[in-house]
Symmetry: C2
Subunit: 159 residues, 2 copies
Amino acid sequence: MSENRWLTGDEQRAWRAYIAMEHVLGRHLHQHMQREFELSDSDFEILVTLSEADGARMRAVELGEVTQWEKSRLSHHLSRMATRGLVSREPAEGRYPSIVLTDAGRAALAACAPANAARVRELFIDVIGPGRLELLREIADDVVAAVEHHQRTNCTLRP
Amino acid sequence: MSENRWLTGDEQRAWRAYIAMEHVLGRHLHQHMQREFELSDSDFEILVTLSEADGARMRAVELGEVTQWEKSRLSHHLSRMATRGLVSREPAEGRYPSIVLTDAGRAALAACAPANAARVRELFIDVIGPGRLELLREIADDVVAAVEHHQRTNCTLRP
């Protein structure tokens, strides 16, 4: 393995700082949402995704494409959310039912979204400031594009 | 809930781009590590943390502080890693054993670390470039400091 595969000190500091931001901020937001609203980050991701879909409904396979969760994780999680009344399964054309956001799911999202947005503003948006925020968006878009290009062109690990 | 708690269009685009980077890059790195080296991201985090500790050993409570995992998750995960021979529990002063990196754990880390570092370089470091990387490090440090300050001063949700 050639040495230039390793990261320099500066590169490693930047990578570790990014990972620390991801862990520390994510955990803080998730803990608040769980304890104040009894929603996990997985629940929240499904609720947001459904709420933005046409008719607040999607096929499970479409939800899988958007969230990129593994099939078994998605299936188990949707069952638990259905038991709690946050989503329901409804017959649709073809073999597979649609996953539909229920009134209770919409209410749960409406209850927690403002508090979550306020925390994102206080601890991320306002800390970073408008100029750096625009640059962070460019960085993030570039990284996502690079990973997706890599997956399209030379990766055999598609789910 | 007052309107200024919500994010503007630009703010929301930046936040969503950041979340997309976190998901897309993290999933890509974790999938490769799992399929090529049979290590989950949780395994990798424990192995790296232990490898950097004095004597490659830590108390479980110290591991909990560094990783910030919940106690039950940490305990179950360490048991599974011990079964696989990646770590071992050894008697130590006081009531609690130390968690020690085994030779097999060190070998597993040594086997996957270069490939992982090469992916981080290709899809993150080189895509971002040195100037933006330094700025991203500053952003990440500022966000981590803000969350930690918030937790110290007015948060009742400490684990």
